[in-house]
Symmetry: C2
Subunit: 377 residues, 2 copies
């Protein structure tokens, strides 16, 4: 993997990441294909909305279809017919979300499957092995994602274990080989809750370990938004300029703009896909809940200026009807639109950075976005 | 509307039907878009699988979004962004399926909405008016679809009312105008359960009324398959050669081949779409239930010879995984494949008719299809 940093505008950066499955431009937003499919999207429609890289979840793929089938398929790219880059998380986040069903130890984390209660264990070594079977272009280390709020003492202790796990992941990564005909790379993850000193320490230790890229984890878990932005700044002040930075699980269009401004290169979030399936449409003018009665006779597109398949072909009235009568097409059209908008936001952010006017672009977008949005459940 | 009968092979016929929304070739299979959407399909993907005409349901459209919104949209074609021909049923079939919720009288049929229990009435006149609002290219008369089994006396009496309703529909049709910038046509419907004399009488009276096309209704409701084929023969012996014949709600690939052989030109059925959503895939080698464990490591396409998007891009193992983890993409890929297969069956049937070898083609297909299939619930 190669990261080419091309332009900066303030602390915002634009560039390219080159993998054996092709190039993706940064800042990049990765649609989420949890179970080896971005919900309601064909690979063809993913290409059409401009996605250059997607994310998939190790925890889910490990349970179903399982590493054996993925290995027999020749890896996830072939299995799901996606020829562009794939990033996988380590599975840690999902496992820690299991709450009562998991037990954290130095060795790793024991957990029970949310599907059948069967007992499993993820270790720093095993999640590297699993991601070797998946064949993702970018793999993530196993980390403990601390909840919010989190006592400082726990955050510090947890982070020390996360750093030891990062080293074990790296050792396993360096002593193992890719299983398919393409190379893989491994990113470290900075933790430390909302404590600047722990974040700094974490970033410094990981930077010394010389990963090919760095994620900022444990944010967007309920902390005040300003704390999130502060943590991003703290991390990015230390993380090497020459390596990509990935803010995990973030976020709203506003969050993305603020994080890009602070030097983040990569994002993933369920927001555009999940909220879309709940009838919330994003646009540069804010969000629109299409099931609102005011749209029943509105024969304009969701967004007049949008170039997506949904906006070029369908009206608000029709899409509202599809949601009201629970047609599958509603989910398809919403996902297409929202992902197209997120890619549009990245594309125009990159262009603004290239032209050295990111701050002006950001301010303009923030004004027109009007309101904050939340992930729907 | 113009029907151009081009070739015959025995009693099988091929031709073209020309509407203001373009031409469709016959024999034709119409995918069902009950609520103004063929489930899990975009209009673009419908064009890609080769659909030239779709069917939509008056009962459902009348309830949601309702005629006012459809009228404001400029009709169903614009509302759903489908520029090719649309046929609508009269709503009768759905209403009669409501059982306890409806009451049949000479004037029409009273029913309660399956959604909210509200009281409504369909008359021969009102279903024409509703289909004017919908703007379908081909409208159907209101008929009573008798259940199976059905006493002969009831079938005869019901059929007389259906014939009086047909006349009232035709009067309303002739005294009203299309609401949009395209012409519409009205088909009569032959009823008579499994009684040849009633079917003959029905076909004769309707033929004298000189409709632009004729449907054969009330079949595929549980009668033995040979009775169905016999009724098709009885009707088609009387219905004029110069008009299209539409066998409503049929059927399996075997049914289609047998009915084409007996001179039917048009079909609709939920089988490829509904069974597809239940993991059943059709092919010229019979059906395949993709959730079967034998496919979990099967990295071949559903059908090696199939040219659809699903078969060209995905394996049985992947599609099985999508169904097992309940991904929306499973429904999309199954629908694409099954509708493509149904269109393939029509395309090759037309070609066999043009080349005067339909019987040989039919026999060959029936041998390879192996087993009968049933509509899944």
């Amino acid at each position: 993997m190669q990261f080419v940093l091309e332009n900066t505008s303030g602390t915002a950066r634009s560039g390219r990441i080159i993998t054996d499955h092709g190039v993706f431009q940064t800042p990049a937003f990765m649609p989420i294909g949890t179970q080896g499919s971005v919900k309601a999207m064909t690979p063809q429609s993913l290409e059409e909305i401009g996605a250059e890289i997607i994310l998939s979840n190790t925890y889910h793929l490990y349970l179903r279809p399982g590493v054996e089938i993925l290995h027999n398929a020749g890896g996830l790219h072939k299995f799901m017919n996606w020829s562009h880059p794939i990033l996988t998380d380590s599975g840690g986040y999902q496992v820690f979300s299991l709450a009562d069903l998991r037990k954290i130890e130095e060795e790793g984390v024991q957990f029970r499957s949310h599907l059948d209660g069967s007992l499993h264990k993820f270790t720093p070594e095993s999640v590297v092995d699993i991601q070797r079977y998946i064949g993702s272009d970018i793999m993530m280390v196993l980390d403990e994602c601390t909840p919010f709020p989190c006592e400082k003492e726990y955050a510090a202790k947890s982070n020390e274990m996360t750093l030891r796990w990062a080293e074990r992941c790296q050792n396993r990564f360096r002593s193992s080989k890719a299983l398919y005909n393409h190379s893989q790379t491994l990113f470290g993850i900075v933790q430390g809750s909302i404590y600047p000193e722990i974040r700094e320490h974490s970033a410094r230790v990981l930077a010394e370990m010389d990963f090919e890229g760095y994620a900022i984890g444990g944010l967007a878990v309920g902390e005040p938004i300003d704390e999130m932005y502060e943590m991003v700044e703290v991390c990015n002040n230390i993380l090497p300029q020459t390596k990509p930075r990935y803010l995990m699980g973030v976020g709203t269009p506003q969050n993305l703009l603020e994080a890009i401004d602070r030097g983040v290169d990569m994002f993933d979030c369920v927001l555009p896909t999940r909220n879309g399936r709940n009838a919330q449409f994003f646009s540069k003018n804010g969000t629109l809940n299409i099931t609102n009665a005011r749209y029943k006779d509105d024969f304009s597109p969701v967004d007049n200026d949008c170039g997506c398949y949904t906006c070029k072909n369908f009206t608000r009235a029709y899409i509202r009807h599809l949601f009201m009568v629970r047609e599958i097409l509603a989910l398809q059209l919403a996902t297409i639109h929202n992902l197209y908008y997120y890619q549009w936001l990245m594309r125009f952010s990159r262009q603004a950075i290239r032209e050295g006017r990111f701050d002006v672009w950001k301010q303009y977008q923030l004004r027109t976005l009007q309101q904050e949005v939340q992930i729907t459940v």
